[in-house]
């Protein structure tokens, strides 16, 4: 999995686009990144999931953990491209599960 981080339009906003499999092996690095952003006082973190081909409970746990941490720091974590609103998705890893996470409507 790769995670590409870009700065947002306003200060302390970031977008992280994930690509590949988010599982037991790759989730810890993502968790660390979320913690770091929370410490840096992130206002908004958008996680792009459109190119994630596999997401298991470890990956989901990382996302939930990130959402909680950033929320506790006073910010928000939104996911993009996960809620099944993209009919071209080849994989149907439970996008429904991510629906609890705030969804970014770009």
């Amino acid at each position: 999995m790769t995670a590409t981080r870009t700065d947002g339009d306003t200060p302390r906003t970031w977008r992280i686009d994930l690509n590949g499999e988010l599982d037991l092996d790759t989730a810890p690095a993502l968790t660390e990144q979320f913690d770091e952003l929370a410490q840096n006082g992130a206002v908004l973190v958008i996680v792009g999931l459109a190119d994630v081909t596999f997401l298991d409970s470890s990956g989901l746990r990382a996302l939930v953990h990130g959402a909680r941490a950033i929320e506790e720091a006073g910010g928000r974590l939104l996911v993009d491209g996960a809620s099944g609103d993209s009919p071209t998705r080849s994989s149907s890893w439970s996008s429904s599960r991510c629906s609890g996470l705030g969804t970014h409507r770009g």
């Binding site: 149907s92 890893w93 439970s94 609890g100």
Partner: protein, 704 residues
């Protein structure tokens, strides 16, 4: 030497013998001079020695004739000494007629008249040139020998067997630590200085040389009076008397302490090198063996397998026989026993013995004692005496003899201070005896096995708890719902060592029936306990007639408050009987939405995905409803079906098609489940999946 008589007129001889003839017969040169040196007599030997005939020298000065310039002073001194009436003898260099110088030994005596006056000098001389040369050579040789002996640190000796005397030179005394001149020359004084451990060998060597009349060399130690020990090498030969019998020995001795030290050091370091190579080889073998034991342990799935595997791995590497005794986990003093032997017939015999002599936990030695004390027993050498003295039965002794026991090790299997059992390693007469390194290795092996055993039990224990919990969480049987068929499929994830978090439930409520399916994030006892919480929260809320979203809201709160950093998905639905069938009302908390197969063959995904439960304080939960009529089926599932690593993953569309295929023409809900299971296995065998799968099919029979 010829004899001459002074009386030349012996009447018995007859014809008188002239004095001149006598003088000419003398082998020495005889010259007579007057005190002033004038030659008056010159015999034949003088003619031969000096080259001058008598008639040419008579009346001439002896100084002019024979004395070289360099010796004139000495000659004058001699003449004056003899002239005064004294004799003189000594070596003298003389000129021959041919100019050569010859070394002579001369005796000059005065010739006296009746009044005692010196009237002449008579000189006797002989050529000693060659003799003096030989003498000098001999002296040189002696000097050189002394130098050589001294330089080589040699001392010499001579032993006279007839007198028993031993002669040592000062150098030899020094080699034996004695002050020069203090060796008393007795044979006993010599043997007293030889190192007692070397004396017999040394004397035997000398005896053999005397017997064989040969030379010999003997290395031995000497103990100096100051107590220090030195090595010497004696090289001797026997001396023979005129009759060819041995008269004694003669030889020389040198100190070889330093060379011996070098030799010993070299031998020692060679021995050390051999020893360390051996140690290295052994430790490599041991590491290798421990590695094999580890492999064996990791291949063992249960205790019986572990016991069988390790005993087979230990034979013959660590013994001709290996037995493992494992106490039952439930308690009790009678262990499970597994044995291995290089000879299969012996295994049968040992089993037979176990039948005849049941395990006696109170025995004072052997495995029972090791298990009781937690301490190893080591019998490096089992011989007849050991057997006789052992505190055991006669039968056991016979057994030991029959099996040909030679060496035995018994070690406890201890983990965290608890004795789990013991192991026994035995070598028979055909193998080597155990060393202490083998005991160490056996203990290391036992430690690993004990550890594996304890872990295996711990895992089994956890699995048992989780399985017990899980099964207690799944309904034992599904209730009958009039007019509906219910079927459930549940496949645990591949490994089977951990219990998954999928759960389902069906129970009666006031309005009809409640149906639940869910998935707790994670596996094992933690997930199982959370599953219990979720299930009971749902039941309690539903029985209190809480609205659908409120039921899951209470679950959300309960999971959040459980303090566990995990979450779950759940789908809560109710089935209420209507005039034409059942009304299906549902809410999803992050759970995959159910698929309904309509009577016209189309499929439909019901509901709206809600928020995961236990993750956020304010979940979004939306309740929807749909009627289920005759001929229609509803499939609820967990994400173990769809969320598989690519390429075995399934899109919702693909799953809907599978549902259509499975449900079309299926006679019952159970058949639909079976067909679905079959389809899923075709995509990826259940055993290879990492996640549980729970499937629930509700089928309304009949035609629309």
């Amino acid at each position: 030497m010829s004899e001459t008589r002074h009386s030349s007129t012996d009447p018995e001889v007859g014809e008188p013998i002239s004095e001149r003839a006598v003088l000419d017969a003398v082998l020495r040169a005889v010259i007579v001079t007057r005190p002033n040196g004038e030659i008056v007599l010159w015999n034949r030997a003088a003619e031969e020695l000096y080259g001058w005939p008598e008639h040419e020298v008579l009346g001439r000065q002896i100084f002019d004739l024979l004395v070289p310039a360099a010796a004139l002073d000495l000659a004058a001194e001699v003449m004056s000494q003899v002239g005064s009436g004294e004799a003189w003898r000594g070596d003298f260099s003389v000129l021959r007629r041919d100019g050569d110088t010859v070394r002579v030994h001369a005796i000059n005596r005065p010739v006296l008249d009746a009044a005692g006056q010196v009237v002449g000098i008579v000189g006797f001389s002989e050529d000693v040139t060659e003799q003096r040369l030989l003498e000098r050579q001999a002296a040189d040789l002696a000097d050189r020998l002394a130098l050589a002996l001294d330089a080589g640190g040699f001392g010499t000796w001579r032993w006279d067997m007839a007198t028993g005397r031993v002669e040592w030179d000062p150098s030899l005394e020094q080699l034996y630590g004695l002050e020069p001149g203090t060796f008393d020359g007795t044979y006993d004084a010599y043997t007293a200085l030889v190192h007692p451990d070397d004396l017999d060998k040394t004397l035997a060597t000398v005896r053999e040389a005397v017997r064989a009349k040969s030379a010999y060399v003997v290395d031995h130690r000497v103990v100096w009076p100051d107590g220090s020990v030195h090595w010497v090498q004696g090289k001797g030969r026997v001396i023979l008397d005129a009759a060819g019998e041995v008269a004694g020995t003669i030889g020389c001795t040198a100190d070889i302490t330093e060379p011996m030290r070098v030799v010993f050091e070299r031998e020692h370091s060679r021995a050390r090198a051999v020893e360390s190579a051996e140690t290295e080889r052994l430790s490599r073998e041991r590491l290798q063996f421990l590695g094999e034991i580890n492999d064996t342990l990791s291949r063992s799935d249960d205790e019986q397998q572990l016991m069988r595997n390790v005993t087979r791995a230990a034979v013959p590497k660590l013994g001709d026989y290996c037995g493992i005794y494992v106490l039952p986990e439930s308690g009790g003093a009678t262990p499970e026993i597994e044995i291995a032997h290089t000879d299969p017939a012996k295994v049968a015999y040992a089993r037979e013995l176990q039948e005849r002599f049941p395990f006696d936990p109170t025995a004072s030695t052997g495995i029972p004692a090791v298990i009781r004390s937690g301490r190893s027993e080591f019998h490096p050498e089992i011989d007849e005496e050991t057997l006789r003295e052992a505190d055991t039965t006669d039968e056991a002794r016979d057994v030991a003899r029959t099996l040909g026991l030679r060496s035995a090790i018994a070690v406890p299997l201890v983990k965290r201070g608890r004795v789990l059992g013991a192991m026994q390693f035995v070598n028979t007469r055909s193998s080597r005896a155990y060393a202490s390194a083998d005991l160490t290795l056996a203990e290391a092996v036992a430690a690993r096995i004990a550890s594996a055993l304890a872990n295996m039990r711990l895992r089994a224990h956890q699995r048992l708890i989780a399985t017990t919990l899980q099964s207690s969480l799944l309904p034992e049987s599904l209730p009958e719902i009039p007019g509906l068929e219910l079927a459930v499929g549940y496949w645990a994830a591949g490994e089977g060592t951990e219990v998954g978090g999928d759960f389902y439930d069906v129970f009666e409520v006031d309005s009809g029936w409640a149906v639940v399916i869910g998935d707790v994030c994670g596996t094992g006892p933690v997930a199982a306990s959370l599953t219990g919480l979720v299930r009971h929260t749902i039941r309690a809320a539903a029985w209190q007639r809480a609205p659908h979203d409120e039921v899951l809201r209470q679950v959300n709160t309960a999971v959040l408050r459980s303090g566990r950093s995990t979450f779950c998905t759940a789908l809560f639905a109710t089935l209420t009987e209507t005039a034409s069938g059942y009304r299906f009302e549902m809410v999803s908390g992050g759970h995959p939405l159910p698929i309904v197969l309509r009577a016209d063959g189309t499929t439909e995904t019901l509901g709206s995905p809600g928020t995961l439960l236990g993750a956020f304080a304010d979940p979004r939960l939306i309740t929807v409803a749909s009627d289920i009529g005759p001929g229609e089926s509803l499939v609820m599932y967990t994400d173990g079906i769809t969320d598989v690593r690519p390429p075995h993953d399934l899109s919702t569309d693909a799953l809907e098609q599978i549902v259509v295929r499975a449900a079309r023409g299926a006679g019952s809900a159970t058949e639909v489940i079976n067909r679905l299971g079959h389809e899923l296995s075709a995509i990826l065998p259940i055993a290879e999946r990492n996640d549980d799968i729970a499937l629930r099919v509700i089928k309304a029979p009949g035609k629309p």
